[in-house]
Symmetry: C2
Subunit: 213 residues, 2 copies
DNA sequence: TAGATTGTTAATCGATTAACAATC
DNA sequence: TAGATTGTTAATCGATTAACAATC
């Protein structure tokens, strides 16, 4: 935590991992754990794990460790996984469809309430009981329905323009799959999934595995 | 760069962004740039950009700046984008199909040479001229064909086992989309795309936008 | 030459690790 | 009580930023 009480992004990135591993412990019927055990599972140091958790308050018991179920619930609360979120997906191409069909979000209550595309061949088709709407209906839809998160899966040449439109309709959170950075006003959070950058990093390390360390 | 001459992952993560922005400059017909200009585009500080680039040698000219085309070519070389890579995709579900259809990798020469699934309904179908093969043929395929990168798009309950199999066949680079960490021997590089972790981070920031800073 | 901008060293900042008192 | 493990402070490490000499 810095001087303003703001928690560093590095900490926030680790929370979902803690959450996931705690879920695995629950599946195994394990009720009690420790920073040492979590360290072995996650690869993060025990000290770092304790530091991370203590940013949000003491969830453990000295001399004992952490109660798995309780810690998981607390991390869920920190991340906001105890609430419901309504998503729309803009762009029903490869990635958009994959996200629409993705079942891995069941941990929290993420509901896809709208799918939009500009391709007339796509409009009217349904994915998981959700009909693909004309992109021209986007603004009207947003003015009528509450939406928490917009998932941008459009080609990169229109992503900025689409993002501006949803933001003008009050959207504050964007999950961006278009391979381009978005220029957004203060108060809008953008989480990027840049698959090409990820693949390029992998390529670098693949080529440099041998002269590693 | 640390004392062992190893370049920090943070630097490597920034290289694809430089590469992308330099590409945009080329499209605009701009031939010359500076760390200040790149800073404005990328949001990284000019000082950081110069530091990053100087990990790999001096690509600029004092008093002048950087020649756009040349710098881009050099970054491509560092990342290995001047070479060819053969990929296989394991798991032809939502994500697997999206990756197979993804056209955003054209920057470098990534070729998908195989698609594998265990669902009999999928086997035999084709995606982009690539036939989906039975997962049982995976080992035989790898023993016959050279493959650089395995893309794991299977459910998480089999990802570890599949990863071990491809590694036993000599694969050194894994692009992992299954929402679970892989336990791999030294000398294998895994690049994770954990969509649920990305969404959870977004959720956190969405909930904490107001008490920001 | 004067102005600009790199390459590179030094200073700062922040994140991670180590250490240990508190306490169960 | 003795052993274990947290919570938390201090030390270390590494990454970012600042500064400036080199030089085009």
């Amino acid at each position: 935590m810095d001087k303003n009480g703001k928690i560093s992004p590095a900490v926030i990135r680790r929370l979902p991992k803690y959450y996931r591993y705690l879920g695995e412990l629950i599946k195994l019927g394990i009720t009690k754990t420790s920073s040492r055990e979590l360290s072995e599972m996650t690869g993060f140091s025990a000290s770092q794990i304790r530091q991370d958790l203590n940013n949000f308050g003491g969830f453990g018991q000295q001399g004992f460790g952490y109660e798995v179920e309780h810690l998981r619930v607390e991390i869920a609360k920190i991340l906001g996984l105890d609430k419901k979120y309504k998503l729309i997906i803009i762009g029903a191409g490869n990635i958009g469809q994959a996200i629409a069909n993705y079942t891995g979000f069941y941990e929290a209550d993420y509901e896809i309430v709208g799918l939009f595309d500009k391709n007339p061949k796509m409009i009217g088709l349904s994915i998981r009981n959700s009909e693909i709407r004309d992109i021209d209906e986007l603004e009207g839809f947003l003015n009528k329905e509450h939406v928490d998160i917009a998932v941008i899966c459009t080609p990169k040449n229109v992503s900025q323009q689409i993002a501006e439109k949803v933001v003008s309709c009050g959207i504050k959170a964007i999950w961006n799959f278009a391979p381009k950075d978005l220029n957004m006003p203060e108060g809008v959070y953008v989480e990027n999934v840049h698959l090409n950058e990820s693949l390029f990093s992998l390529t670098y390390y693949y080529n440099n595995l041998n002269n590693k360390e």
